[in-house]
Amino acid sequence: MEEIVVEITHQMSFVEYKVFNRFPIRIGRAFDNDLILADPFISPHHLEVGINNGLLYANEVGNENGVFYNKHHYWGRFIPIQIGEEVVIGNTKMRFFAKDSEVKKTRLLYKMPGFIKFLSKDHVAVPFILIVILFISLTDYLLSGGAKDFPAIKIVMDIIARFVFASMWCGFWALIGKVAKHSPKFLFQMVTFFLIYVLYFLCSYGLNYIGYIFNMAFSLAMLQFLLFGIIFGILFYANLSIATTLSRKFKLIITSILLIIILFISVVYYSYSKKDGSIYEPNASIYPSFVMIGKVKDIPQFIEEVNHTDFRLAVKKNE
């Protein structure tokens, strides 16, 4: 059984420690609470603090005053709480510590890297996002080999499209956050999204270069998809952790289902493009398939493979 130590600072001055091993801990002014606080700004039954799958959460029971946690004001249920951080109700500050190591471990899940904290400040995030969008669009433009198929309007549309895409993503999480009554900042979402997008973008172009330089051939489209799937999965899982207090098992299940759906769609798409017996190369730009990996064949090997190819397959299906 886990034990939680609560550090209570009454009226912002007097400090008291109490140990609890029964959960949830009911906190409020009334006498039937586990932790009774004589504070006029606290409701009779204000808060419950519990543990769910090793995560500490605060659950508002019936108050109109809300909770200050981590300098943000929340109303709602199942607000995740980090070990050692301040929770303020009325004029009382509380900090929760774990005696048990299992509880301590959960801290890590909530810790944001310092640079993301920095980036998610409004005056940093807005220019950052704009620079990222411009960077992606311009690099795409330059790498695509000039203006031939890339009129100015396309760049503008590209920028808008990327912005809309990012906003949709952030809006989705804002909605999840609203349902969970705990919304990580919109801009924070934007920043994490674009960080990962840049990473993906660099990877896909990087792969092209690596493939070209080292003379490798593989299905680049599939690899790009795989990379995108992995990154998307991580991003999705991280956001689930931030915005909800779902159990780890549940989060993994949801993320897996999502990835399976993406994989399914891509496989369906891929096989659909092969359905009429053609492959994607004949009338498309050949470039994506120029990237080589593995062993280059010799002519007899190629002829042998051609010999074993059934070129009438598509017609046979229809006959």
Binding site: G277, P282, F311, A314
Partner: protein
């Protein structure tokens, strides 16, 4: 042949009377041919035909009756005699390559009117020889035109005669004769401006002797389409054999490689060299096209047997790196515009990275199967060199109506013949 008088006027009058005499002599041997749609009973195509050696054997072009070959349930052949009598003719034999068909006809008629039966001229003829051609011009009546024999067409696998007379639509299938009415050939095609082609009689005689005369002929049990398939396959097989029999294909310097060109006299070679002068001019494209002008007519939207080899050398003029350059260079496969989708299925491709004589290339071996002919395909092969950071060599081969085995042999030989210059 008459001795010609010396003055120009007298010459002219003799030629006029020659034509008149000849026409009245042979016109009873030239019939009009209609291919009739059995549903509407209206004509779908019209041409000419003539009697050859027998009064129940009519000769015409294959392309005049091609619809009957390909859709035997929908069309029938109707003959119309000079006096206006009509009847149904039956297809007896076809030669797709030389565009000849033999019809059996006229049981109803049987020499009632006394038809003229043509036979082949025995002696050889030389350039400048006067010949006449008869035919059902635009289906408005049988006419006679004159012109000169101009020898066998060069740069062709067909052995057709060039004729300086005006053969026009509707005259296809009519006889080309000398002044005595001996058959020299069959009218077949025109390119306008009095450039006309005539199929030599020897191919007709061959077909006639193999079928009618030897009486080995039985109507094909599988149907006419199998005969067509066999003949097309034989034709393309002959082309491939002919090309493979050449010990070493002559080569042309093409900047980064020595490439096969002038492989066969029947293949024309044309080159072009141009900068792409768009606002973002970044490429110089050098083109060489090698092709023959002959094709096999099956139906109007299915022309087979034409060989085309393309070389494109694309040189980068302004890209920063190879990836940019390769990405901006679209490589398209070469497909025949003379085959509509009705007759051909989408391509199936085998592509891979292959070391072609020391240079890494990407090869695309695509085949479009012909729907009606189970053993025939359109080959579209493409090679793209990958080892030159500033240059791309893209080479295509296209030939339709070929079997898989022949296609593979042709491509294999082609790959062996490419020599790189580094």
């Amino acid at each position: 042949m008459k001795n010609l008088p010396h003055s120009v006027e007298e010459n002219a009058s003799v030629i006029v009377s020659l034509g008149k005499d000849l026409y009245s002599k042979v016109n009873k041997g030239v019939y009009r041919i209609h291919v009739i749609d059995m549903v509407s009973s209206k004509k779908a195509s019209a041409g000419s035909a003539f009697f050859f050696r027998r009064d129940d054997i009519l000769i015409t072009n294959y392309h005049v009756v091609s619809q009957v070959v390909n859709y035997p349930d929908n069309y029938e052949i109707r003959w119309i005699s000079p006096s206006g009598k009509e009847g149904i003719a039956r297809l007896y034999a076809i030669d797709l390559i030389h565009d000849i068909s033999i019809l059996k006809c006229c049981d109803e008629l049987h020499n009632e009117e006394g038809v003229f039966v043509f036979d082949a001229r025995k002696e050889d003829i030389s350039k400048g020889f006067k010949i006449f051609s008869l035919g059902n011009l635009f289906d408005r009546g049988v006419i006679i035109v004159d012109g000169l024999y101009n020898g066998i067409v060069e740069n062709s696998w067909y052995n057709r005669f060039l004729f300086s007379g005006a053969i026009n639509p509707g005259m296809s299938g009519g006889p080309a004769i000398d002044v005595n009415g001996n058959l020299i050939g069959i009218n077949v095609a025109t390119e306008g401006n009095n450039v006309s082609y005539i199929v030599p009689t020897k191919f007709l005689v061959e077909l006639y002797e193999n079928t009618v005369e030897n009486d080995e002929y039985n109507p094909p049990s599988e149907g006419w389409l199998d005969v067509v398939e066999k003949q097309v396959a034989q034709y393309t097989h002959k082309i491939v054999e002919r090309l493979l029999a050449i010990k070493e294909w002559p080569k042309t310097d093409f900047d980064i490689a020595l490439l096969p060109a002038d492989i066969d006299p029947a293949l024309n070679v044309w080159t072009q060299n141009q900068d792409v002068r768009d606002s973002d001019a970044k490429q110089r494209i050098k083109v060489m096209k090698i092709y023959n002008n002959d094709y096999i007519f099956v139906v109007p939207d299915l022309l087979l047997g034409r060989l085309l080899i393309d070389y494109y050398l694309i040189t980068s003029l302004g890209y920063h790196n190879a990836v940019q350059f390769y990405k901006a260079t679209p490589i398209n496969m070469l497909y025949s515009p003379w085959i509509t989708d009705k007759h051909i299925a989408p391509p199936v491709c085998k592509s891979d990275f292959v070391d072609v004589n020391g240079v890494n290339c990407k090869l695309f071996f695509c085949m479009r199967p012909l729907r009606e002919f189970k053993s025939l395909y359109e080959l579209s092969f493409s090679l793209v060199s990958l080892d030159f950071p500033k240059q791309i060599l893209n080479s295509d081969i296209n030939i339709s109506g070929i079997t898989k085995e022949d296609a593979i042999r042709l491509v294999e030989r082609f790959l062996k013949e490419i020599t790189w210059k580094r």
